[in-house]
Symmetry: C2
């Protein structure tokens, strides 16, 4: 059985938990508290030298790290990854957009404010995170003006990846009311009958 090394409040971990649940895949969840440096122990670094969760153990000693790489692995051959080659490239482009232009700003602002509870520590940096995070949300809002989902008008791992931190962006001080198309898309994702919440451990 898959083992997911998971930190419940992490949007990156949630992506994997959500897809595993959508695919009805059983897994064992192992809590790793990043606030206690549990990703920096020799045992954990032997599994991921980059010291980050989520980490999926697919067989004894066979690990996959990087949330979007895990989504890619799990979605192959399922309806959450398209068949068409150009559509596949578009999924990839949104996954890289998420990790480069979205997560470092939206997730980090939430981490400082809602998890570390230290919004005042880096006021200049927080302003910068809000500026670039809003730029990413604008790109998403514009895309959703002519699409219901991010690629090919069906729910793919591009949506899962972007959903993870967008749906809790308000916890990082982002005002989602400025993005009505994003709000409608979040609702669409949440309506999936097998949807789970970020705080839900899954099965």
């Amino acid at each position: 059985m898959y083992k997911l090394y998971d930190f419940l409040p992490s949007g990156n971990s949630y992506k994997v938990r959500l897809l595993l649940n959508l695919l009805n895949i059983d897994y064992e969840r192992i809590d790793v508290n990043i606030l206690n440096q549990e990703t920096r122990t020799p045992e954990f670094l032997a599994k991921n030298p980059n010291g980050r969760i989520p980490l999926l153990e697919i067989a004894s000693g066979k690990f996959i790290v990087e949330s979007n790489a895990i989504l890619y692995y799990l979605s192959q051959g399922t309806k959450y990854f398209p068949q068409d080659k150009y559509a596949q490239a578009q999924v990839m482009q949104w996954l890289f957009f998420e990790q480069y232009s979205h997560e470092p700003f939206i997730a980090t602002a939430r981490y400082w404010i809602a998890i570390l509870k230290q919004p005042e520590k880096n006021p200049e940096q927080l302003k910068y995170k809000h500026r670039l995070g809003n730029a990413a949300l604008k790109v998403m809002e514009q895309h959703l003006s002519s699409h219901n989902y991010f690629v090919g008008e069906t729910y793919t791992i591009a949506d899962i990846s972007l959903y993870a931190y967008t749906h809790v962006a308000d916890e990082g001080g982002f005002d989602l009311k400025k993005y009505p198309l994003i709000i409608a898309w979040l609702k669409r994702i949440k309506e999936h009958p097998q949807h789970i919440l970020i705080s839900d451990r899954g099965k």
Copy 2:
């Protein structure tokens, strides 16, 4: 014929130019000077609302952005992308490592120092970039202690992606002499008979 919207000093652009040359694919190269805000014109933003190069136009009005997504697209069915599903996931994990834990520090330090020529502008931020960039280089050095390439002992797009900014890390103030296994790997990549330099426009 493919059209590559390209900025010659950009490592992200170089990844695509290098793979196109390794694959003997003809393309038209279109210079986009990011220093003159040429990625922020209405014409360019209509192609990529996120306003970044490289951008590959594969047919009239069909665009792919995000350097690693373009590498993925071009490498499908070639020897630069493995067949095995776990090896594919490992390629993905290095591509996301590159964009999240490597490029934002190593490429940005080089951009400030060697391209904008303003190393003194953000001394505290530059120190931070050097700390995290060196952490990424250490992860690579450790991996290379038991591998010749990043995945499956052959040259894949994971190597291309990591090569792009690692081989010019010294321009960002990184001391590669501290990483002898990386130096040996860079040499291995450069020895490919169809290798091109970052300053080379290709065919």
